[in-house]
Amino acid sequence: SSPNMPTSAPSNHSSRPEDLIGKLNSAITPYEAKLKALRDLKNQIIGNRTKKLAFLKLGAVPSVAAILSDAAAAEGSGGDAWELHDSVLIQSAAAIGSFACGLDAGVKAVLDVGAFPLLLSLISHANDKVVDAGARSLKLIYQSKLAPKYDFFQEKNMEFLLSLLNSENENVTGLGASIIAHSCQTTAEQQSLSEVGVIKKLVSLLGGSLLQRDASLESLSAIIRDNQEVASKFVGTDNGKALNVMIELTKDKYSRTRLLACMCLISIRNTVSPYLQDLGIKNNLVITLLDLLDDPGQVGDESPFVFSSLITEKEDMQKLAFDANAVERMLEHLKKGSFHGKRLQGILLALADLCSKLECCRDRVLHLKVFDFAIDALAHDSAEVRTAACIFLKNISRSVKNLSAGYFMNETVILPLVQLLCDSCTSVQISALRAISNVVVDFKPHKSLFTQSEGVKHLVLLSKSMESAIRINAVCALKNLMFLANNRCKEEILLELTTSTLASLISDPEAAVQEQALAFVRNLISGTLNSIEYVFGEDDLLLHAIGRQLRSSYAYEVLIQGMYTLSNVASGNEFHKEAVMNQLFPSAGNETESILAKFLQSTDNRLRTAAVWTIVNLTFPSSPGACGRVSELQNAGIISMLKNMTNDPCLDVKLRVRMVLGQLLIFGDAST
């Protein structure tokens, strides 16, 4: 234990938050003391999120803002106190800026108390340090989503913005660029900024200080994003020199600059395709972003997201990345472990993108056992990470080779995924459903692992969810589960789901759900002959539901699934075929065109194909009742329609039509 040494009271004790705020609020505290208190407060909160929140709760922002307001109002009153006044302006502005730095609650407090216009007024102050303080704080506010939207369409505002960009003070130009980066969102805004020559101004800032360069890159990103015209204009600036400057910045010594430059270039690449397609540039972007993963800070956290934007949906880029050992590099980082959820989320999403189309990537990932990290991530605290892990699993299970090898149908994968079906976050549930949808497309006949794991129970529960996105994906998963399932498996699943639920899913308000439900039935009845019996259960409940949908729906996807289902039923025995006829030609005997006739005339190839397949099955010659059905079809004008389709533009349709007509020859068509 330490000896009793006289210690001077640490400054912390005499400057408790409550005391400081008390001093700021008190009318009797001398001005110099208020300045000291301000400075003290500022020094306590900078870098210290916990303290910021504590001070916020005690109402620090209104207190500081009041002082700022008084000091700003007192400007021009002259005298020797200007130095003191300026200091008060600087300290209070800096304190307010710090409250707003990276803290939405702080930004809100600052805006609510009306500090924004006060800070704006500081920009035109004579004292450079006051200008700096004001500009910095405003810039910090503009880095938050909560910042007020800047109206670029008002002439005064545009003039002000341009004056900011033209300033000698780098904090002020930085502010101008921040405003653009934050508020420029619509095409019209991008256009109007481009028209007043902002691009040229920003390009010149690319050669300025670090602050100006980075701010400029962020603004250019915002102005160019998805805007072909502006992107082209940028590329043409200075005869292409601007673009070269930006490419050079991807090799800058500061990591944040490199990242921002990559973001800009990717934005241009994705918006105006002829540019930046050169192999050297593509490689440069891939390698730069992979190297940025090494950065321990925010830059490293953001780089995998930017990497994703480079490769997403682009097979050629994915291949390039694969060749650059992207998988290995990402795995290295996963192994380091213990970093922000954000970085883990980013890496998982980037890996998911890599595996989205290329089998070689999926192979490499599985081979290197990246998999285990993803499984662990399924139980992560952060919902975003859990979602990313599911997306990764969904993509990697697109590997047919590994699916059929049963790689994914094991407890390590299934159990955590099934658990996520009960996750509190909807997006996690949906992404888990999608992953499960892929994983259950197992080519092994028994899916008992899944059915035994309460997975089916959860899927069925989710198929009744109020959220359509959940219903759609749940039914899709069930449909895939049903794919090539054996009879016992089918029984178990249908027992849990119940025929009546299935029927109501077929009639679901959402077309996408109807489609999945019908596809489910299609899978249900395929396989052995007696599987077809399912549609006749409970008084032909399913069969009637299918017929109803075919008569009422307008969505092609639904009609196609419905027809193929009927077609499969029609491939059964006599009884089955007759039942299909009854659905296609209900005995109402009205003049309306039969649905079969409607579908045969559809502009959608797939629907015509499905319709003709049904007819193929109905008119199968070796069936006893075929002759009678042919007559009925004839009376309904179907046969003559078919005769006009022998040269249908779609090959599938053409061949099936000829197949039918070939079959009909056996019955001797008297009315040729």
């Binding site: 234990s1 330490s2 000896p3 040494m5 210690t7 640490p10 400054s11 912390n12 400075r39 500022k42 020094n43 900078i46 870098g47 210290n48 999120r49 916990t50 303290k51 800096a94 800026g97 710090s98 730095c101 990276g102 303080a133 910095r136 910090l140 200080s209 670090l210 602050l211 010594k253 500061y254 321990p296 800070g297 213990s338 970093f339 922000h340």
Partner: protein, 227 residues
């Protein structure tokens, strides 16, 4: 296999070749100025500027501020250093969680060094623990630092290295670099890079030729080639 013997270059030959290489005086002046400025030798930089007419790349006044911060850390006055950094640019510590953590860590170390155990405990609780909460990446270092409080003889404990002056210098260097970055200045002087390049080039050349090497950079003496 017979290895061909390396070509030998005598000192005379070498010195002759060296004298043919032209290096501009102003380039060397710039290098010297760059070194003085980056390392923070304000007075030397001023004098050098007066005597050689070489303009420094940045405003020497900003160096004074930066050096004050560095000196404060090196003397263990971390609180003072923090105040000075915040006066210079309040964004630096607000946007550099790692640096801020290291400064807080240094504060704790100084309290422990001065035997102010109670204060140290309170400080660790109020100021350092929240950093660990805000950022899991700091937990390991935090634990190491707090471990200092558990030992009677802090100078001889497993984490005693934290009390070394080198720890202060490390922190000082980190804050110096952050200030330089915020001022858009290179944080490393060019001179060491040149020396590193020289080392590399000599190593490369060693494989092909025998020549008078510079082995001691402080004297830059040419040493005769081994025959």
């Amino acid at each position: 296999m017979q290895t061909t013997s390396k070509k030998v270059i005598t000192r005379d030959e070498w010195e002759k070749r060296l004298s043919d290489v032209k290096v501009r005086k102003q380039d060397m002046n710039k290098l010297v100025m760059n070194f003085l400025v980056t390392e923070g030798y304000v007075e030397a930089a001023e004098k050098f500027r007066m005597e050689s007419g070489t303009e420094p790349e940045i405003d020497l006044a900003t160096i004074t501020d930066r050096m004050a911060v560095k000196k404060a850390v090196q003397s263990g006055n971390v609180e003072d250093a923090i105040e000075k950094v915040n006066d210079l640019n309040p964004e630096i510590l607000d946007t550099n969680p790692q640096l801020f953590f290291h400064l807080q860590q240094q504060r704790l170390i100084e309290l422990i060094r001065n035997g102010k155990v109670e204060e140290a405990l309170e400080f660790a609780q109020e100021e350092l623990a929240p950093r660990g909460e805000e950022n899991r990446g700091f937990l390991e270092e935090l634990e190491r630092t707090v471990a200092l409080l558990a030992f009677e003889d802090v100078n001889n404990c497993p984490v005693g290295d934290l009390l070394d002056i080198s720890q202060r210098l490390k922190t000082a260097s980190e804050v110096n670099a952050a200030i330089l970055t915020s001022q858009s200045h290179e944080k490393d002087p060019k001179l060491p890079t040149l020396l590193k390049l020289l080392t590399w080039v000599q190593n490369q050349l060693d494989e092909k030729v025998s020549y008078p090497r510079i082995n001691d950079f402080s004297t830059a003496m040419l040493e005769d080639p081994a025959v």
